[in-house]
Symmetry: C2
Subunit: 323 residues, 2 copies
């Protein structure tokens, strides 16, 4: 952190985003690439990605018997979900009832797509720095006919932990962090957001329910309200940190679905990861490059140092505790 920085500096000012842009394919009433017209929606709006990475009928790559040249068709669907009809708001600027509508829609998509697909990945790329190509507040939902690598790894670790220690890993972890109060960024009756002990991205956080919950679909109405409130507080803190609309990639991990709905998934605990790229200021990011790509991710600041930076904005946030 003491190195002089003469490397890349990010563009700090976002171009002013208009509330409604007649050329933005995500706005209400506009026509998309495939000719479809968006409805005049009032809260969330879900549609099939017009340029999907996964398709239900992806062709079979054919059979190759050599172990070094194996491939399989990755089949699935990609959906886009707008959070709000206005392009100039973000989740932390939305009202709690509107955030709850986003959470309800996430759960609804998990039920729909999860009825057949083993993995439904809900994720949000926020900000140009995180590859987001459209400023309208939205996330993506990609459902696949296979368990992706990260899902497989998370499943294996949680399964092994339960077997060895008799309690779901992330349930035990949340309890211990709640007790220690060393890495907690925000909390309420049902949720906890911590800078995880193993964080490598600067300002990385982990959002955890306090109760043992396996999937988004299992959240009670009260837990959804609590989630809306803690998301708003966490994201407001992020925005306050460098006084910008804070970029990040985030996403939900829960027990797998489709054929796994019938299996015991007691080892799973629902959680969301937030991975923000900024390190020193609104203009200087952390580059996960050479050593990180070839050897191992390494931290510039400890989670505890990050927490202090995030905590100093506690009092700037003029929000009630929420439910």
């Amino acid at each position: 952190m003491k190195r002089p920085w003469s490397g890349q500096v990010e563009k700090e000012e976002e171009d002013q985003v208009p509330q409604h842009d007649p050329n933005n394919p995500l706005c209400p009433g506009n026509t998309r690439a495939n000719g479809e017209v968006n409805p005049d929606y009032n809260n969330t709006f879900v549609f099939e990605n017009d340029f999907p990475a996964l398709q239900p009928n992806a062709p079979d790559p054919g059979y190759n018997q050599h172990p070094l040249f194996q491939s399989k068709a990755a089949r699935g669907v990609c959906k886009v979900m707008c959070f709000h009809p206005w392009s100039d708001v973000t989740l932390p600027l939305m009202t709690l009832p509107d955030i709850i509508k986003v959470i309800d829609k996430w759960a609804e998509l998990m039920v729909d797509l999860g009825s057949t697909y083993p993995w439904v990945q809900i994720f949000e790329n926020k900000g140009a720095m995180m590859g987001c190509s459209n400023p309208h507040p939205h996330c993506q939902v990609w459902a696949s006919n296979f368990l992706p690598n990260e899902a497989t790894l998370s499943d294996r670790c949680q399964r092994e932990y339960l077997k060895t220690h008799g309690e779901p890993l992330l349930l035990q972890y949340a309890k211990m962090e709640a007790e220690k109060q060393e890495r907690v960024v925000v909390q309420n009756a049902d949720w906890l957001a911590v800078v995880p002990y193993w964080a490598t991205w600067p300002f990385q956080t982990l959002l955890l329910p306090r109760r043992h919950v396996q999937r988004l679909t299992n959240l009670t109405a009260q837990e959804r309200e609590g989630l809306a409130s803690i998301m708003k507080r966490l994201l407001t803190k992020y925005d306050n940190l460098f006084q910008i609309s804070f970029p990040y990639s985030m996403g939900w991990h829960g027990a797998p679905t489709g054929p796994y709905l019938k299996e015991d998934q007691f080892h799973w605990q629902l959680h969301a990861h937030y991975y923000p790229p900024l390190l020193r200021s609104a203009g200087v990011r952390k580059f996960m490059v050479g050593y990180e790509m070839l050897a191992q991710e390494q931290r510039d600041l400890t989670p505890e140092q990050l927490l202090i930076k995030l905590s100093s904005y506690l009092n700037c946030v003029n929000l009630t505790e929420g439910p």
Copy 2:
């Protein structure tokens, strides 16, 4: 690849880099942060990083008995290696004898640091887009008292493959790619550069010796000459692709060292990975973000499509085959 792109566009023109900048701590004769004066070096120059991520005497974090709160001291050294006295050259612009000097110095550092450290990671972050904070041509060498994650994974996979299939994984792979000629970017008598079958980064390549070689230190004089030549050709192709000094992170993986020097490492095959970030043009990069961070890396182009793009520059390169 057909998606309209209104996301982040990278700054295309590099600021003109002067051959010698009196304020650049990497240039010959200049004074560095710690007050040391660089010698008036003629080819390579190695020094200890003035802001090291790894230190030989890192303090012990203390003992915590809970399985979820484990940590250990990561000890090591970080060196910086300048490739050339001039700031305005890059490896592909250097002469073959000068590139050979770089390779010889890599091998020398592997001997020195590898005599005690189990892992010595040589890597180069090239270009501001890859977090490089100094335009002077250089790489880094980080030696650690542990096997980093990627090294552990690579060791495990190569070990298992040898056990199951009776031949080192990457030796067999190189032979098969040499036969197929479907993904070979450049080749000579001793080396092969391929877009690997499993590539996820656009224009990712894997550089492999044809002979079974476990470490950089085992390369013959002829193989070092061949390596200099193939590196120059590969990197010239990269530069020609979008007519810019092509950004990437690259690094070497070979059998572990230190205590492992005494063990059988037959499963290991030396190789270098190149990970370039650009996707569509000099200004539009691939973002490994939401889905990639939370689920799995996914490709925008197949390795074979990338090869065609790289191959169309075969004839622009006015270089003899080299040794």
